[in-house]
C-alpha cells in the first residue's frame, strides 16, 4: 500500500554530469506535503545565500504534486521552482498538461538541477535509463519543434517533455518552461534559469505505478467532484459580458459561488472573462491607467468568448482534469494551430495595450509559447514601452522606427518579435519592465507596473483589493494565482474549517475597501490553502468549485492515510508559506520593499469607469496578514528561531 508519493528525488549536477538519487523521509512529506512544499524545503536548505540566480549555485526543480496520479481530480499540475532571476526572491511557475504524472512514473517526487553544463544537454529518463544527453541539435529550436523532435527521438508517443525555447536560451528574464506544445510555466523567469544551465529539456517516459492508501475512497471523492463538474446549464455567448455590466452597475455584490465560474470555464475556458472582467473593472486597461470606459463592449467584442470558441477545434484537458478549460484553436498563416489563448494573454496583449486585433493576439500567443516567453510579462512590457513612447521617453530612434502607439497591433507584434529575438529595443524589454525602466531612466519607472520586478497579471486591485495584498505580501510577488477576495468566496473553506470567517451572501461593494483584520485572515487563509493546493499538484480552478464539493483534504487523507483535519493541512500551508518567506530573507530580500505602483492602488483614484473613486489602503492589511503567519508586522520577516526550524525535517 502506498501513500501517493514516490519517496525519492533526483539531483543532477550539470557541472559534473552526475545524477544522484536522494530518499526523502516520511517526516518531510508530513510537514511539506510535496510539490511546492517539498521544493521550498529543499531549495531553502540547498541554495546558498545570495546565490546568483543565473549561476551554478542556483537549483531548479521540477515537481509533481503529492496527489498527482492518485485517482484524484484537478491534481495533474507540476511546479518548477528556483531562485527567480526576475525578482531575486523565491521563484516558481506552475503548469498543467501531462508532465506531472510523467515525473512520478520515473519514480521521483522531484528532479533538481544544479551547476552549469558546458554544452547544451537534456535529461532523458525512461524505465531503464537515466542520463544526460547532448542537446546541440535541439538548441535554437522553438519549444514546439524541440518537443516534437525529442518525442520522435525517444520512439514513444507516451514520452513527455518540458523545454525552453529561444527566450530561455537567450536568458530573457521573462521566459518560462513549455510542455504539451505550448502550455507554459511562465512566471518568475524560470526559463532563464534553465537557459543559464544549458539545460534544454527534460524528457520523461517512466512506467512506475503510483500507489495510494485507499483507492476506493479516492474514487468515491472523484465521482462526487465529477457530479459538480458535469452539472451545466446553457449559457449564451453574451452572458459574461452582460453580467460584467450588471456587476459594474450594482452598488452591491453577491458572494460568488464557484459553480457559475465552473460552468463558464467548461464552456469557454478562461476567455469567458474577456468581456466580463473589463466591464466589471477586473481588467487593467492601457497599462493600468485606463478604465472600463476606454475598453468598452465594442472594443472587447473582437475577443468575446463566442468568437474565440468559433476558432476552437477541440477542447483540451490537462491530465486528471474533468473540466477541460483549454482548447486547441485553428489559425491562419504560418502556424496552423495554437493553444486557446488564456484570458491573461488576451488582456495583456489586448486591453493593456489597447489592441483589439484578435488575429494578432492569436499569432502572438503562438510565437510567445514557442519562444517560451511569458505572455503576461510580454504584454506588460509592450504596454510599458508604448506609454514611454507616447510620453516622449522613448523615440522612434529608440524603437527602431516602430510607431509604438496605443492599439497599433502591427507595431506591438513587431515589438514582441524583437523581444523574442532580443533585437534592438526588444533586447531591453526582454528582461521585464523593472530592468528596462532602470536602463531607460528619464522617469520611465512610473510606467513600469510590477511587484518586486514581476509584471502584474490582469486583475485590478482597485476592483478586488485582495489582489493588491497578494501581489505585495506573498513570498512570490506579483501573482494572481494565490489569493483575492473573490477566491476566498469561491474556495468556501469555512464550510470545512468551521472557525474561518464566513462571507455574507450580499454586501455593499464599499465593504471591500474597508480595512479590517478579517481581510488579513481571509488573505492568509487563501495563501495557506494555495500552498497546500500547489504542494498537492492541484488546480485553482477546480478548487473554485468549493471545498465541500472538490474535497482536496479528504483526497490527501485517502492517498496518504494521514487522517489530518483541514486545520492541520492549513497549518502545513502556513509552514510552506513561511519557509518561502524565510528563503527570501536568507537571500537578502526586504519584504516591505516589495510594493506596487500607486496607480495600481488607485492613488490618485480614477475619475471614471468601473473603479471610479476606489483607493486601496494596503499597508494595514499587509501588516495584519504578515502577523497571521507570526512574521514581523513591520518588516514581514519570520523570526530567526522560526527560520531555524526549517533546517531539519
Amino acid at each position: 500500500m502506498g501513500k501517493g508519493y514516490m519517496g525519492k528525488v533526483l539531483f543532477v549536477d550539470l557541472s559534473k554530469g552526475e545524477l544522484k538519487e536522494e530518499t526523502i523521509p516520511d517526516e518531510v512529506y508530513q510537514k511539506y506535503i510535496g510539490g511546492m512544499g517539498l521544493a521550498a524545503y529543499l531549495l531553502y536548505n540547498k541554495i546558498p545565500a545570495n546565490a546568483d540566480p543565473l549561476g551554478p549555485d542556483n537549483i531548479i526543480g521540477f515537481l509533481p504534486g503529492l496527489l498527482t496520479g492518485t485517482g484524484s481530480f484537478f491534481t495533474g499540475r507540476w511546479m518548477v521552482a528556483a531562485k527567480s532571476p526576475l525578482t531575486g526572491s523565491w521563484g516558481d511557475a506552475n503548469c498543467g498538461g501531462s508532465l506531472s504524472p510523467a515525473i512520478k512514473r520515473c519514480g521521483y517526487d522531484g528532479i533538481f538541477f544544479s551547476g552549469i553544463s558546458k554544452k547544451p544537454v537534456y535529461l532523458y529518463i525512461d524505465h531503464h535509463t537515466k542520463e544526460l544527453r547532448d542537446a546541440s541539435e535541439y538548441w535554437g529550436k522553438d519549444a514546439v519543434e524541440a518537443e516534437e523532435m525529442l518525442i520522435a527521438a525517444s520512439g514513444s508517443k507516451k514520452t513527455r517533455v518540458a523545454c525552453i525555447g529561444e527566450a530561455g536560451e537567450k536568458l530573457s528574464l521573462i521566459s518560462g518552461v513549455s510542455t504539451d506544445k505550448g502550455r507554459m510555466a511562465g512566471r518568475s523567469g524560470i526559463g532563464a534559469v534553465m537557459g543559464s544551465k544549458k539545460l534544454k529539456a527534460i524528457v520523461l517516459n517512466g512506467k512506475k505505478r503510483i500507489q495510494v492508501h485507499d483507492k476506493a475512497e479516492m474514487k468515491h471523492l472523484s465521482k462526487l467532484a465529477n457530479k459538480f463538474v458535469k452539472f451545466q446549464v446553457p449559457l449564451p455567448n453574451l452572458m459574461p459580458g452582460m453580467a460584467g455590466i450588471l456587476m459594474r452597475a450594482l452598488p452591491n455584490a453577491m458572494a460568488q459561488d464557484g459553480m457559475l465560474y465552473k460552468m463558464m470555464l467548461r464552456k469557454w475556458g478562461t476567455v469567458s472573462m474577456n468581456q466580463l472582467s473589463p466591464e466589471m473593472g477586473d481588467s487593467p486597461i492601457k497599462n493600468w491607467m485606463g478604465s472600463s470606459k476606454d475598453w468598452g463592449f465594442s472594443k472587447s467584442y473582437s475577443t468575446h468568448p463566442g468568437k474565440i470558441l468559433k476558432r476552437e477545434k477541440v477542447k483540451y484537458h490537462c491530465y486528471s482534469c474533468p473540466l477541460g478549460c483549454g482548447g486547441i484553436c485553428s489559425m491562419k498563416g504560418k502556424y496552423k494551430e495554437t493553444h486557446k489563448p488564456e484570458y491573461e494573454t488576451v488582456l495583456a496583449l489586448g486591453g493593456l495595450c489597447m489592441n483589439k486585433d484578435a488575429d494578432s493576439i492569436f499569432y502572438l500567443n503562438e510565437i510567445l509559447n514557442r519562444a517560451g516567453m511569458d505572455t503576461i510579462s510580454a504584454g506588460a512590457a509592450a504596454a510599458f514601452a508604448i506609454e514611454c513612447y507616447e510620453n516622449g521617453i522613448l523615440t522612434k530612434k529608440d524603437t527602431d522606427g516602430l510607431e509604438l502607439k496605443w492599439g497599433n497591433s502591427k507595431a506591438i507584434t513587431q515589438l514582441i518579435e524583437k523581444m523574442i529575438k532580443r533585437e534592438g529595443i526588444g533586447d531591453l524589454l526582454a528582461d521585464g519592465v523593472k530592468k528596462a525602466a532602470e536602463k531607460i531612466g528619464k522617469g520611465a519607472e512610473q510606467y513600469a507596473i510590477h511587484a518586486g520586478g514581476q509584471e502584474l497579471p490582469m486583475h485590478d486591485a482597485r476592483n478586488d483589493p485582495g489582489f493588491a495584498l497578494h501581489y505585495t505580501a506573498e513570498p512570490t510577488p506579483g501573482r494572481h494565482t494565490l489569493g483575492a477576495g473573490l477566491y476566498y468566496e469561491m474556495f468556501q473553506l469555512w464550510k470545512v474549517a468551521k472557525k474561518l470567517p464566513k462571507v455574507l451572501p450580499l454586501y455593499m461593494k464599499g465593504a471591500k475597501y474597508k480595512t479590517d483584520n478579517e481581510k488579513a485572515v481571509m488573505g492568509a487563509t487563501n495563501s495557506k490553502f494555495m500552498s497546500v493546493v500547489n504542494s498537492a499538484g492541484g488546480c485553482k480552478f477546480g478548487m473554485f468549485i468549493g471545498a465541500k464539493r472538490v474535497r482536496l483534504f479528504d483526497w490527501l487523507n485517502a492517498a496518504t492515510g494521514w487522517n489530518k483535519t483541514p486545520e492541520e493541512y492549513l497549518a502545513m500551508g502556513e509552514n510552506i508559506q513561511t519557509i518561502k518567506q524565510s528563503f527570501n530573507v536568507k537571500h537578502g530580500i526586504e519584504p516591505k520593499n516589495i510594493t506596487v505602483s500607486d496607480r495600481v492602488l488607485g492613488k490618485p483614484f480614477q475619475t471614471e469607469g468601473a473603479n471610479k473613486g476606489r483607493t486601496v489602503d494596503l499597508e494595514p492589511v499587509r501588516s495584519a496578514y504578515w502577523s497571521e503567519f507570526g512574521w514581523n508586522p513591520e518588516t514581514g520577516k519570520p523570526t530567526p528561531e522560526r527560520m531555524a526550524e526549517f533546517t531539519n525535517p
Binding site: G69, G71, S72, F73, S98, P101, A102, R105, H127, H128, S156, K157, K158, K207, K208, R209, K215, M218, K219, S222, K223, N226, V229, K230, E312, K313, V314, K315, H317, C318, Y319, S320, C321, P322, G324, G327
Partner: protein, 146 residues
C-alpha cells in the same frame, strides 16, 4: 510486489517478448528472471506463460489465459470525464483520445487504438477515477473495427 518466475520455466521467451516494462531477461530454453526493480506487476507474464511458471507478488501461481480471452477495456463515454488518466496509466500506449467518439461534443474521449498491443493489465480500469472502464473479451469484429 514484483512477480517471479519459478523453475518450471522452459525458457520460451513469450513473457520476455511481451513484458511492457522490459523487466524479464533469460536465454532461450533457460529459466527466465524478472528484475524486481523494473516489474510493474501488470501480470502479463503470468497470463502468457503456457507452462504456468509465474507467481505473483503474493506467491500465488498465475493461471494462463488464452490471448483471445484476454479482457480489454471498453469505455463508457457517458461516465468518462476525459481526464486522460487511462492514457497515462496504460503501460503499452494502446489507448488514445478522439474527438469523434461523442458527436457534437468538442471533448476528446478515450478508445482502444491498438487492441493487439493491449496486455490486459487492467491498469486503466483500476485507475479510472469514475469507473468508466470495464474489461471485456472483445470479439474479433470489435478488435478489427478498432
Amino acid at each position: 510486489m514484483a512477480y517471479s518466475i519459478i523453475d518450471e520455466c522452459i525458457g520460451c521467451g513469450a513473457c520476455r517478448t511481451l513484458c511492457p516494462a522490459g523487466a524479464i531477461t533469460g536465454e532461450k530454453e533457460q529459466v527466465h528472471v524478472i528484475n524486481k526493480e523494473f516489474c510493474i506487476e501488470c501480470g502479463t507474464c503470468g497470463r502468457i506463460c503456457a507452462n504456468e511458471a509465474v507467481e505473483d507478488g503474493f506467491g500465488i501461481l498465475c493461471q494462463r489465459v488464452k490471448r483471445k480471452d484476454w479482457k480489454k477495456p471498453v469505455f463508457n463515454a457517458g461516465l468518462c470525464a476525459s481526464c486522460r488518466t487511462c492514457v497515462d496509466t496504460c503501460p503499452v500506449g494502446c489507448i488514445s483520445l478522439s474527438s469523434s467518439i461523442v458527436k457534437k461534443d468538442p471533448r476528446e474521449y478515450p478508445f482502444l487504438e491498438d487492441p493487439k498491443a493491449c496486455v490486459s493489465c487492467g491498469f486503466c480500469e483500476a485507475d479510472c477515477p469514475v469507473d468508466a472502464i470495464t474489461l471485456e473479451i472483445l470479439s474479433k469484429e470489435t478488435q478489427a473495427a478498432a
